[in-house]
């Protein structure tokens, strides 16, 4: 983090600082103060929304209707009331199913594809890669009409989350792309050595590549989990008709509808939807940040 320092550190002389050194030191101190004040101001912008949300979630029903910023009495029971709201636990279960099963399917189906795109040479490889990138950039709304008709009218699966989970067994463009970028960084020598030892491509993938690709796999698993957790459009299209199939992201909005003036309860529910994501982040911070940089760019 210190590579961009533009203030040279003054070298301490044996006979005390010269006036020039003293100015340099004062300049460095002023620079430090300026940078950190700016940092604190920015941090307030990013953190205060969370703070106000949490404070409001702890207010009493009456106080939540006022302009007060901090609760007079701390109503921790609000969180219990949210959990007791009909449906809330069902949304949790559905979200975990969608995110959990979806993530497993995505990883299993995307790894071999990413490996082929990174390490095999075959005709149509570049075209495949460009199609993967195109699919990655494709808004889900573009193909939703035929997909909805397919799942709802032909397979009669509307009102469930299966139309969202099943496609994940067939590779996810973003995961394939991200993992392929990661696999490119594994030197071919390792793969060649495995082949000299008599491993086929499949065994090479399992025994050699997978252990080395753990950070990349962790990153796609995290991204996929969050994508499912955050998804609003998918559940809106396929699950809206059946409240028993709602997810947290979709249900949260209707929660506001059912408690329209109770900002305290709505904010408590909001906290409960945000908290797991933030908890996962703290456990997997490194993999996550690595993943964000990977999607970016090698340019």
């Amino acid at each position: 983090m210190t590579r961009l320092l533009d203030t040279p550190r003054p070298v301490a002389a044996a006979d005390g600082p010269t006036p020039a050194e003293r100015t340099a030191r004062r300049k460095a101190l002023l620079h430090w103060i300026a940078v950190h004040s700016l940092g604190i101001a920015a941090a307030l912008f990013f953190v205060l929304p969370f703070v106000f949300v949490v404070l409001t979630s702890l207010m009493s029903d009456q106080q939540a209707l006022t302009r007060d910023l901090t609760p007079n009495t701390w109503e921790w029971g609000n969180y219990r009331r949210v959990f007791e709201t009909p449906g809330f636990l069902t949304w949790w279960r559905n979200t975990l199913l969608y995110a959990g099963l979806g993530t497993v399917l995505t990883v299993v189906s995307s790894v071999p594809v990413a490996y082929a795109l990174a390490k095999f040479r075959f005709r149509g490889r570049k075209l495949s890669l460009m199609l993967v990138i195109s699919m990655m950039m494709l808004p889900p709304q573009v193909v939703i009409i035929p997909m909805y008709l397919f799942w709802a009218k032909q397979l009669d699966l509307s009102g469930t989350l299966w139309p969202l989970i099943i496609p994940m067994a067939f590779g996810d463009a973003f995961s394939i792309f991200l993992l392929r970028q990661f696999l490119l960084t594994i030197p071919n020598e390792y793969l060649d050595a495995a082949k000299v030892d008599g491993c086929g491509e499949f065994r090479t993938l399992i025994k050699v590549v997978l252990p080395m690709a753990k950070p990349g796999i962790a990153a796609i698993a995290l991204f996929q989990f969050f994508a499912a957790w955050n998804d609003y459009f998918g559940p809106q299209i396929y699950a809206s008709e059946n409240p028993a199939a709602w997810t947290l992201s979709y249900g949260l909005e209707s929660f506001k509808g059912a408690h329209h003036t109770d900002w305290n309860l709505t904010m408590a529910a909001t906290v409960l939807v945000m908290a797991p994501v933030i908890a996962v982040f703290f456990f997997a911070q490194k993999a996550f940040v690595e993943g964000v940089t990977l999607t970016g760019v090698k340019g």
């Binding site: 193909v143 009409i145 008709l149 009218k153 609003y232 459009f233 947290l248 945000m274 911070q285």
Partner: protein
């Protein structure tokens, strides 16, 4: 080696490739190629979900472009979002990225603070902002009012709803911060030293050393930002719904765009036409417009001078 064994070896390697690629090959066919063809087909048909589709010529297309009252407002909104929201995100993302590379005390803590909002699930973050910015009792207007500053209607005022969405988008800037931070740390230190020896000011160092080195990343951020702006769906829809007070998972109908079409974007039109008006054919027309725009910018990303996404080797 005989030609026979060579050929069988080649065939084996082709089979192996096909086997490894098969999940995606199926996925591509069933969830991309088929629905794309089908979308084009429906855009020329008349179909409401019942009975057989019948040929409708260009009627759906003329309807969307000439008579559907939500089409042009949503394009105008998207243009606004591209010009203002994307610019704000890139400028602030770069600013925060530069700030974090200069912070020396508590770097990890600052970085976590700056990054966290990016993780907030979109529906939750939108709900939080509708609350924070609600004109009556929201904390932001409470503070602005106490300071004697004007208190805008934010998500309830057509001229303030997009600025409010922009604030929400700038709040979740963590992804850009990380990308810019990585790029800034890759700028060769010697170039800064050389610039300093030449007596370059802070701005000159930024303009002539930093910017040229990170310009591919800036371009990447702009182009992906434009693509995201065109796909902008959850936040404007949820903000409009919640702020209008008309919500209900399956109950009441909410016409997207509240207030006064100011939060409409193209993907919301697909929802409105297809799933509220059951005009599947016109929804397909909008879907194709969205597709064309998304692909044009994706091509820019892949074909650009800098080959931003390394599609080759």
């Amino acid at each position: 080696m005989t030609t026979h064994t060579l050929r069988s070896k080649r065939r084996r390697s082709a089979l192996r490739t096909a086997a490894f690629m098969s999940p995606w090959l199926i996925g591509f066919t069933v969830f991309f190629a088929y629905p794309m063809v089908s979308t084009v087909y429906f855009s020329f048909m008349k179909y409401d979900g019942f009975g057989a589709p019948s040929f409708n010529g260009l009627s759906n297309w003329t309807y969307v472009f000439a008579d559907y009252p939500m089409f042009w407002p949503s394009l105008r909104n998207t243009l606004w979002l591209v010009l203002v929201m994307v610019t704000c995100r890139v400028v602030f993302g770069l600013g925060i990225g530069m700030l974090i590379t200069k912070i020396r005390t508590g770097t990890g803590l600052f970085r976590t603070f700056f990054y966290l909002p990016y993780l907030a699930p979109p529906v939750a973050a939108t709900l939080a902002f509708v609350f924070l910015l609600n004109p009556g009792t929201g904390p932001v207007n409470a503070i602005l009012g106490d300071l004697g500053l004007p208190t805008p209607g934010w998500f309830n005022d057509a001229s303030w709803s997009k600025p409010a969405l922009t604030m929400l988008a700038v709040w979740g800037i963590g992804d850009l911060m990380v990308i810019f931070m990585a790029a800034l740390l890759d700028v060769p230190k010697e170039q800064y030293e050389a610039a300093e020896l030449d007596g370059a000011s802070g701005w000159q160092r930024f303009r002539f050393v930093t910017l040229p080195n990170i310009s591919p990343i800036v371009l990447f951020a702009v182009v992906t930002g434009v693509i995201q702006a065109m796909q902008y769906y959850t936040q404007p829809l949820v903000a409009g719904k919640v702020a209008s007070g008309v919500i209900g998972g399956s109950g009441q109908q909410f016409e997207p765009g509240y207030p006064d079409k100011s939060t409409l974007t193209l993907p919301q039109l697909v929802y409105n036409l297809g799933f509220q008006r059951f005009d599947y054919s016109s929804a397909c027309v909008v879907a194709l417009v969205l597709f064309a725009l998304a692909m044009a910018f994706t091509a820019l990303l892949m074909r650009g001078r800098n080959n931003l996404i390394q599609a080759g080797d």
